[in-house]
Point group: C2
Chain length 256, copies 2
């Protein structure tokens, strides 16, 4: 089964399009500093919340101190619970350097990883990732204010975000798209343009506010091909179980 099939199976089995963003930091001001503490936190969150989600996502930058063996234990446990595991790696190097990372990510037990199309080598990286059984998720539309200029830069005759989507459609399995909202520079027109290009590929949508307003249009557009990541909104909540349940129910209602 490839990454897309694995995710679609998990969505059916779990009745969820929620992805749990497991970046081990509790408050802005108190990053967890100890390897054991981080691994334990991730384990505990999977153990408490696996019923309400179909995937987990771990950002590499928060777990640089976990070993591949640590991560393998965590992904093994997540898979036992029927979850798909995404390494939010934002891989962005070339050739054998990327291949070295991909081999490690595979050993760590992840099903897919995020990559940046900046070096232009999405084809090469995706081919190698697929050989190793890893799905590839290409950054396309980021919601941070500074990305507005980059998204609108022109690659050949098309905007950067269209280039990213086309690379994903041709070589990879999914794209990352932030949800348009009043607070950011993204628009549903851009999202629909990406949808036209990527067809039935998956969409990883990072971040969604407590009210989930931004999710509605995205769910209407992508349905079960959407992977909605919620991190802090769940793991920093006083009651993560209730929070995960609430997000999942909200997304499921919007899917109907």
């Amino acid at each position: 089964m490839n990454f897309i099939e694995k995710y679609k199976k998990a969505v059916k089995e779990k009745n969820s399009i929620l992805c749990l963003g497991l970046d081990p930091k509790i408050k802005e001001s108190s990053l967890m500093r100890i390897r054991e503490e981080k691994a334990e936190f991730i384990f505990e969150m999977i153990s408490k919340l696996h019923e309400y989600c179909s995937a987990i996502k771990i950002n590499r930058q928060f777990v640089l101190d976990l070993t591949p063996a640590d991560l393998k234990q965590l992904t093994d446990y997540a898979k036992e619970k029927g979850l798909v595991c995404i390494a939010d790696h934002k891989l962005s190097d070339i050739g054998n350097t990327n291949f070295a990372a991909l081999e490690t990510i595979q050993k760590e037990g992840f099903d897919a990883l995020t990559i940046l199309p900046f070096p232009g080598n999405t084809e090469e990286t995706s081919r190698k990732a697929h050989e190793l059984g890893l799905g590839v998720i290409v950054l396309a539309l980021m919601s941070n204010p500074e990305y507005e200029q980059i998204k609108n830069s022109s690659v050949g005759s098309e905007p950067m975000f269209v280039y990213c989507a086309k690379q994903a459609a041709q070589f990879a399995d999914a794209v990352v798209i932030g949800a348009p909202s009043e607070k950011n520079h993204l628009s549903m027109d851009e999202v629909k343009k990406v949808k036209e290009i990527i067809g039935d590929r998956l969409v990883l949508m990072p971040g969604v506010g407590a009210q989930g307003g931004e999710a509605e249009e995205m769910i209407k557009t992508f349905g079960e091909n959407l992977i909605i990541n919620v991190g802090r909104g769940i793991i920093q909540d006083q009651n993560p179980v209730e929070a995960a349940k609430k997000y999942n129910e909200m997304f499921n209602k919007l899917r109907k």
Copy 2:
């Protein structure tokens, strides 16, 4: 002392603009797979070669299995030997995610790191890095064939590589520029354009062939602001000491 000052001091003391690329892989086909073996290899190379270089560069993707403590031991040893330590991280995330990585990179004892300008947040990332005493090296001109299209993409009214150089000049300490050669798409015109923009900032130049032909023009242009990385050409040589010596002498001859 900031990163630029540290590097210039090392260049004087070591009489070298050579940076040792310590990616622990011996042959294309045999990536080292064991943490201890990798750490030992890096240690051994520093021990044998420190006289002939002023910096070391370790690519994150090859050492995902080394812990921050492993890397701290290695950078401590390199610093004892008067070397500047560069984390070739290609950091490319946003906000607190980048800050988490920067804190780890600082704990690992590195003096500087490479970042990608793709998310557009070079200012934010550089500010935080500088607060932590880390220098920032921005990717500008990569030599891989697929980058040709990206380098020529237009950000506002200027090519991407000019945008990258301007971001570096405004917020960071150095840029990455591949050496133009007949085998790649880079030209000395582009390099000179970057030089105009970055002034006295440093230039990390990855890769140089055994004959070093590409180095000549780059050394003429950037002089002691150049950091020439040689990896495989030294560490995969049958006699790494002779190879390091040879590269260093060659670069020093061209500096005169």
